[in-house]
Symmetry: C2
Subunit: 224 residues, 2 copies
DNA sequence: CGCCGAATTTAGGCACGACTAAAAAATTAT
DNA sequence: ATAATTTTTTAGTCGTGCCTAAATTCGGCG
């Protein structure tokens, strides 16, 4: 039987691998809010497990084995399906779905997963724009073009927001920077200064904001 | 913080007190599928907790304190609301809801509870006819008239089924013995023999069955 | 090349919640 | 009333997953 802790570690390893590339014990410790020594211990256990769940050589970082990746994807599928279900079916705000899904992901049955997936029409993205892994283990590529890389004059659409911090998500929602919102970059201040953007569909009332780098780095967009 | 194990113990104590009256460690051990010695240990811990969750004197059985009862009722409210939600919103069969609710009851937030309660219209009974405790801690009296006590000639309606065993519930569903089904007792065989019943609304096709004592003891009915 | 600081691992412990085996208390039978 | 039986409790362990403190090991720099 796979414990919740193991599921959390595998999920974290997958996520860090996704957006940093190399998974160190200290990154894991930060991500999981746990002491580094605890991570070393758990990672050694995962590497000794049969079937092996991670590859691990001391001081060399961690990678998932196929068996480990399979579990990670199942947990992430649960997480993202639940997030979407909470938003769509229960009317949760997008800043609250992560915390609730974090707990539910470990306990729902296959049947529950199938029922909500069917009810949602086999969706492929969650409320933050992250792809939902399919049952067969395939995952669509996440959008990786940050708003911070867009040149003035371009109009794009928000495709993904990385970050589960409710404060941050509420802040974005207040500015109208929600999933699929249209954004035009009007100006980029020099020396890494704020990015000026106009938010809103053509014709609708357009609001403008100046956004700092740490914000625009965490918003990913699609060219139209 | 209250652990899942503690929640399970308090819930079990409440349930046993409900339908047996006196809660012994061995009954608890059976109910929780745990060794008797483990129960003694946990019960001592609950009695030492601040605030005290149970009253316990060795060899005298266990009772809930107000604080313990409050937690038990919260867990049971979660459990029964979730059961109903699974049945109503996700189309679960009534034999599957218990197992799923067993896991979900410990992890859902107050917000989740409120949202599904509102969606269901603040219901007062779960899919097995058990009353759903209100948020303020009040609980309707459960129906306690067993089908086994009904005299031939009487027509009654199924109000509650005690038992979470999926096999048993599927068996009842096959016979048409579902919640709110109308049942007429036609004959009671002597020497504690089977009870003969006709199932179905007036006008609808009526099916008859002979039911053993262990079945009719676990079905509770309302006189019309 | 060797040293410094940061990252990582080892060692030793703790809280939980389960278990088994054996002792003690309560209940039932003689 | 005492013996036999059942129930309950005590004592001692174990596995999981976390912690802190004290080594190590790595990587870069003088």
């Amino acid at each position: 039987m796979i414990s919740h802790a193991v599921e959390d570690y595998l999920k974290a390893i997958y996520e860090i691998e996704e957006d940093v590339g190399h998974v160190t014990t200290s990154l894991l410790a930060m991500h999981l809010a746990v002491a580094p020594a605890s991570v070393t211990g758990m990672v050694q256990k995962l590497a000794k497990a049969r079937p092996r769940l991670v590859n691990y050589e001391r001081h060399q970082g961690v990678t998932l084995t196929p068996a480990g990746r399979k579990i990670a994807l199942e947990v992430i599928r649960h997480h993202r399906l639940i997030e979407l279900y909470l938003a769509e079916a229960l009317g949760y705000d997008w800043d609250k779905v992560d915390a609730e899904a974090e707990k539910l992901e470990h306990v729902i049955s296959e049947e529950f997963e199938d029922k909500i997936a069917a009810l949602l029409g086999d969706p492929t993205v969650d409320p933050h724009g992250d792809p939902i892994p399919a049952k067969d283990g395939t995952v669509a590529e996440a959008c990786r073009l940050p708003l911070s890389a867009i040149e003035p004059g371009c109009t794009v659409r928000i495709a993904r927001v990385r970050d589960a911090d409710p404060e941050f998500l509420r802040y974005l929602a207040e500015l109208g920077l929600t999933l699929r919102a249209q954004v035009t970059v009007t100006e980029r201040a020099p020396f890494d200064g704020p990015l000026h953007v106009a938010v809103g569909e053509a014709g609708a009332p357009v609001r403008t904001h100046a956004l700092g780098r740490s914000v625009t780095d965490r918003i990913f967009v699609e060219r139209q």
